[in-house]
């Protein structure tokens, strides 16, 4: 991978909140142009922090990149603010969807084009294009966003981000709390946007299996460090990943009860 093919290049960043809480120790990752990269890990591992460091939303949470560099599209993001990043074509879809509840679905999506200077006609044209990916939203476009379902709200959040015409999307747990069927639907849309619109994607997920199946490359982080990285294929077949994140051991599926049983057996043996 040469640098010019990477749209995002994070080198050894360290992030602290409130000047004291160390959230990321040493994270490096690359997103090649036009690819989907998954950032995996448990709660509190540092996935959201990494994404916010990239979109420069950290500042609004009293966080700061204290070491390392982040390069987006060949330039350092150090001096940028979130609205400038959107102008450069990088949009983050925040964790928990965060729709504008009192606005209609369509107003939500149009708000995404705020950073672009578009005429009414242009906006309608863009809207129609967006609706081809999110057919379900077109039907609900006059409803108040707060009254739509969780899956629809996630679609609104992604559609809204797409209205800014991004080169790169940062998706923070897009499938959180969604039923498996919707998880698949969301990922299908994400894949489609990636392939047809050529948007590069960095997504943070806890749903390791689905995320890797829909990505080109993956990074696994734990307590603010990258523990493992590789192509999605290699990670899916990696024994460690299988055991720790997919719940599959060499002997086949393993659940929590089995683990407890094993533990009590080993204890007995020691006694």
């Amino acid at each position: 991978m040469s640098t010019s093919t990477n749209i995002l290049d994070i080198k050894n960043i360290e992030v602290t909140y409130d000047n004291v809480i160390l959230a990321l120790h040493d994270v490096s990752l690359k997103v090649p142009k036009g690819k989907v990269v998954a950032l995996l890990g448990a709660n509190g591992a540092g996935k959201s922090t990494t994404l916010k460091a990239v979109s420069t939303m950290l500042a609004s949470e009293r966080g700061k990149v204290t070491k390392g560099t982040i390069e987006y599209d060949g330039t350092s993001i150090e001096k940028q603010n979130p609205s400038q990043m959107v102008g450069l074509g990088m949009v983050q879809v925040l964790e928990g969807r965060r729709c504008f509840g009192h606005l209609t679905v369509e107003e939500n999506i149009i708000a995404g084009a705020y950073s672009r200077k578009l005429s009414k006609g242009d906006i309608n044209q863009e809207l129609e294009k967006i609706y081809t990916y999110f057919i379900r939203l077109k039907e609900r476009r006059k409803s108040q966003a707060a009254f739509t379902s969780g899956g629809e709200q996630q679609m609104i959040a992604v559609a809204r981000a797409m209205m800014a015409k991004p080169k790169m999307l940062l998706l923070d747990e897009p499938t959180m709390g969604l039923a498996p069927q919707l998880v698949a639907e969301i990922f299908n849309i994400v894949k489609e946007l990636n392939q047809k619109e050529g948007v590069s994607i960095l997504l943070a997920e806890q749903n390791t299996n689905v995320a890797l199946k829909n990505s080109d490359y993956g990074y696994i982080i734990e307590t603010g460090r990258v523990m493992l990285d590789g192509t999605a294929q290699s990670l899916l077949s990696n024994d460690q990943v299988k055991e720790l994140y997919l719940g599959i051991s060499k002997k086949g599926r393993k659940n929590f009860r089995d683990v407890l049983k094993e533990e009590s057996l080993t204890k007995k043996k020691i006694n």
Partner: protein, 302 residues
Amino acid sequence: MVEELLFFMEVLVGGLLAGTMYSLVALGFVLIFKASATFNFSQGAMVFFSVLAFVGFMQDFNIPFVLAFILAALLMVVVGLCTERFVLRPLMNASEDTVLMATIGLGYVLEGLAQAAWGVEVRRLDLGIGDFPVPWIADNLKLFISALDITAGLVAAIMIIGLFLLFKYTKIGLGLRAVADDAGAASSIGIPLKHIMLLVWSAAGVVALVAGCMWGARAGVQFALVDLALKALPVLIIGGFSSIPGAIIGGLIIGAVEKVLEVYIGPFFGGAIEGWAPYVLAIFFLLYRPEGLFGEKIIRRV
């Protein structure tokens, strides 16, 4: 009987129109509450500051009426600019309570600045509209209604229509509503919070100037305007803090209720109940309908 009814009508209409004066002040609060979820305690000071500057330009510098008004409006935009830069931006991530306290401080600064620049004596503001009954209405409808009250009603109507159109149909209005709903999400899609805050504070400043003109013409331009603006609090509790129509209707209700109560129930309490009657009404609203008549319901999916 007819005479009694006419008298009641007169009290009611007088109250309603006086209420629009409250609405005008309340509008300024609503604008800022919508964008930053903060009750702006300095709104009263902004009313005082803006109208004193307006009168000062006219009386001390002999600037003509219209030009002085434009200058005062521009001055309020500058105040908005400074507030965004020196108060709101440094407090960007602070809690709402911190911003609330900051607005109290801002209020004192504005009061002090206004008096330092223009002096402390009460000034007269002549809008060319008399505060006496309109003869035509008095002759034909037998109602005594002040021309100033009618003007205030018209001005309030124009402002509410203007603001409604701004919010509903312009890009900046959409941005403002988005920020009001979720400032973090708005900034994540590239809506610059800075511009929105600047717009809102400037608009609130201009609204304060208009409200100040109406009140100043009635009661004289004086320090008491600061406290008078706090009458907007029961107006907002009744109408809803985040609703522009709410501010208008709330103002009308307060105006009507306080005048009617004053006339019909006041004597039993020895008069002067219009000072506190609106707050009693506000307490009932807080108990039974805390979001007000038109306030945005807190929508929560479960």
